[in-house]
């Protein structure tokens, strides 16, 4: 008998998705899909608005990564006023970078401590009651407090430069609207009122040590779980080093061969196309020259560590070389190594924040530059979850006529579907039954990509957890709800 198993929505991802696994009459997996079924509307919503509103409006896409959307939009809008990244003042660039590193730091910390750590601490077979922040807090109080404190530190960085932690405004067309005061800077350095940046680096190092030790103890599972070949995409600077704020696009295939050779972000349309599927509102980006079947790429921490030649801060670079030495591979295609890569980036961000806080140009007064206006602007940054593209076109009055957003989770669409297929084939197929532990492994595979479905679909809302079971005739024979 053919059955369809539905997980709806996937837990502990932002927004709502739905997984269906189709079994044939022998209980073998016939097919599986990670559906995104919410309607995308933001790209249309923003049309007709003046361009200078975009960096503010796009923050409403998501409460988790508003800073990433703000900065990607700002980079695009800079171009509409004739300012390329190299033309921005040093003060404006460094303030934006500080905000960005604060965002990535707090986002990665949240993901590790509260979304990934339940899987790591309690195991993928743990009962659903344990796979949450409350269980982490009860069983490891120190870890929970560190997680909250690191998250708060990043949020305070954002608040210091943008005025508030969610939907704050730093960037304006051609620059920033305020600098950092000495008192605001010292707040993060002196340790009098909050744990200081040196403590954040110390804790970040401890997290990297923890995850390395965890991999040593659980190597077989972490190496093999949801491992599959794919391309990897990320941004690097002119020396090939990791750069989360600005640079060129680089992609490699699963063997490490270059498939996109440090291309200017302005040219993304020449190299990328987006496929669609009837069963999902989320698009499927791929490299044109490689083709739809093999041209898709993972993005995010693992992809970035795979594509870069180095990390431009000493402690994180040491962590990267340890990571590569551990695996002994040129390219890492194991999904679960995303967590280790994410923690290397946490350390990198902490180091970058410290360097910036000691840079007097943060207090400079050269805030806004102006150039000759244009009618097209493209801004790309490396958001916590991966490469984020904002593309705007305007009419002669500066009103937005076209908006195209390719968010990180969209790039990872194929990767998440492939990860779900891996679990379906290797964990569920031929078992004859579906347990909570099996279903959680589907979610573990998806969670490693830290998907933000609010961003990907530009929709919001609440839904209960819903599981549906269909027989081979398509009749609903069982359903479960979890609020």
């Amino acid at each position: 008998m053919s059955r369809k198993i539905t997980i709806d929505p996937v837990t502990r991802v932002e927004g709502h998705g739905r997984v269906t696994i189709h079994l044939d009459e022998y209980g073998q997996v016939k097919d599986s899909f990670f559906h995104i079924v919410e309607f995308r509307g933001f790209e249309r919503f923003i049309q007709g608005h003046p361009y200078w509103e975009a960096p503010v409006l796009v923050q409403r896409l998501c409460g988790i990564c508003p800073v990433s959307h703000h900065l990607a939009a700002a980079k695009a809008i800079d171009q509409l006023v004739g300012i390329d990244p190299k033309d921005l003042s040093a003060t404006a660039t460094k303030l934006r970078r500080l905000m960005h590193y604060g965002q990535v730091f707090q986002s990665h910390a949240l993901h590790f401590f509260y979304l990934a750590s339940p899987d790591l601490l309690f195991g993928v077979d743990a009962p659903v009651e344990k796979r949450n922040v409350v269980a982490v807090a009860l069983e490891n109080r120190e870890l929970a407090i560190k997680g909250i404190t690191m998250r708060k530190f990043g949020q305070e960085i954002i608040k210091a430069v943008a005025g508030k932690k969610i939907h704050g405004i730093l960037a304006v067309p051609g620059g920033v609207h305020n600098n950092l005061t000495e008192a605001e800077r010292d707040y993060f350095l002196d340790g009098k009122e909050i744990e200081n940046i040196d403590t954040m680096i110390e804790w970040s190092l401890a997290m990297v040590d923890f995850i390395k030790g965890y991999h040593e103890k659980n190597r077989k599972f972490l190496d093999e779980f949801a491992r599959f070949p794919s391309g990897h995409l990320g941004m690097v600077n002119e020396w090939g080093a990791l750069d989360l704020y600005d640079g060129q696009l680089r992609a490699i295939n699963s063997e490490g061969d270059i498939t996109l050779d440090d291309v200017s972000t302005d040219l993304y349309q020449d190299y990328f196309s987006e496929a669609v599927a009837q069963w999902s509102y989320m698009k499927f980006p791929y490299l044109k020259q490689v083709g739809r079947e093999n041209g898709w790429n993972r993005v995010g921490p693992l992809a970035r560590i795979n594509v870069c030649d180095s990390v431009p801060t000493p402690l994180a670079e040491k962590a990267r070389t340890d990571f590569i030495a551990f695996t002994g591979q040129k390219v890492n295609n194991s999904t679960m190594y995303s967590h280790w890569a994410r923690l290397i980036e946490v350390l990198h961000c902490a180091e970058m924040i410290k360097d910036l806080l000691h840079d007097p140009e943060l207090m400079g007064n050269d805030l806004i530059r102006k150039g000759i206006t244009r009618q097209k602007g493209i801004g790309i940054i490396e958001a916590p979850r991966g490469t984020l593209t904002h593309h705007y076109e305007v009419d002669e009055k500066g009103m937005i006529t076209r908006c195209n957003l390719i968010v990180s989770t969209t790039h990872n669409n194929d990767a998440m579907n492939t990860a779900v297929k891996w679990v379906a084939n290797n964990v569920i197929s031929r078992k004859g039954t579906i347990t909570d532990g099996m279903l959680n492994q589907v979610e573990v595979a998806i969670r490693a990509y830290d998907p933000c479905l609010s961003c990907a679909t530009q929709a919001m809302g609440k839904m209960p957890l819903k599981a549906e079971l269909y027989n081979y005739k398509g009749e609903l024979i069982n359903e479960k709800f979890k609020n």
């Binding site: 929505p9 509260y114 807090a137 998250r151 708060k152 969610i166 919001m460 609020n483």
Partner: protein, 158 residues
């Protein structure tokens, strides 16, 4: 800038929602009314959704009022209820409930402020910055109640 380690007695009102999603902006609108009131003795914060680090914020106050829109059709258009500590959690990841925030405050920081939820009924949830007429009426009803009960220092107790 506020000191994370400093205790701060008083009342905090947290508006939860998204002003870009029509009636989902009710929480923010209400917080705006409170913060703009000349008589306000209440600190106001705005949240798209509650997250774990908000535990630290709640630890600094004696009394917390969480304000959010609701789909539920309430008899008066709004409802104020005590908010009890509870270890439940949402499946949609980063979002935490007021009850869980209070639970973590108690477990991790030994703080247990008096807390309430104020739910206001909304009707429209699409893209847009204006409230529906129904939500606007409910907002005004809730605001009238709040002015009478709190701005005249009538104590609410859990």
């Amino acid at each position: 800038m506020k000191n994370l380690r400093t205790e701060k007695a008083g009342t905090l009102l947290v508006g939860i929602g998204n002003s870009g999603r029509k009636d989902d902006g009710l929480g923010w609108k209400f917080a705006g009314l409170v913060s703009e009131s000349a008589n306000s003795f209440i600190d106001c914060e705005y949240r798209y959704q509650l997250q774990v680090e908000d535990v630290l914020m709640t630890c600094r106050y004696d009394k917390i009022i969480f304000v959010d829109a609701t789909h539920e059709v309430l008899e008066d258009g709004y409802e104020l209820k005590p908010c009890r500590v509870a270890p439940h959690y949402y499946y949609s990841s980063h979002m935490q409930s007021p009850e869980t925030i209070l639970y973590l405050a108690k477990e991790l920081y030994n703080k247990e402020p008096d807390a309430f939820t104020l739910a206001i009924t909304g009707k429209q949830w699409g893209l847009g910055t204006s409230l529906s007429p129904e939500a606007e009426r409910n907002l005004q009803k809730a605001w009238s109640f709040f002015e009478k009960e709190l701005f005249q220092h009538v104590r609410i107790t859990a």
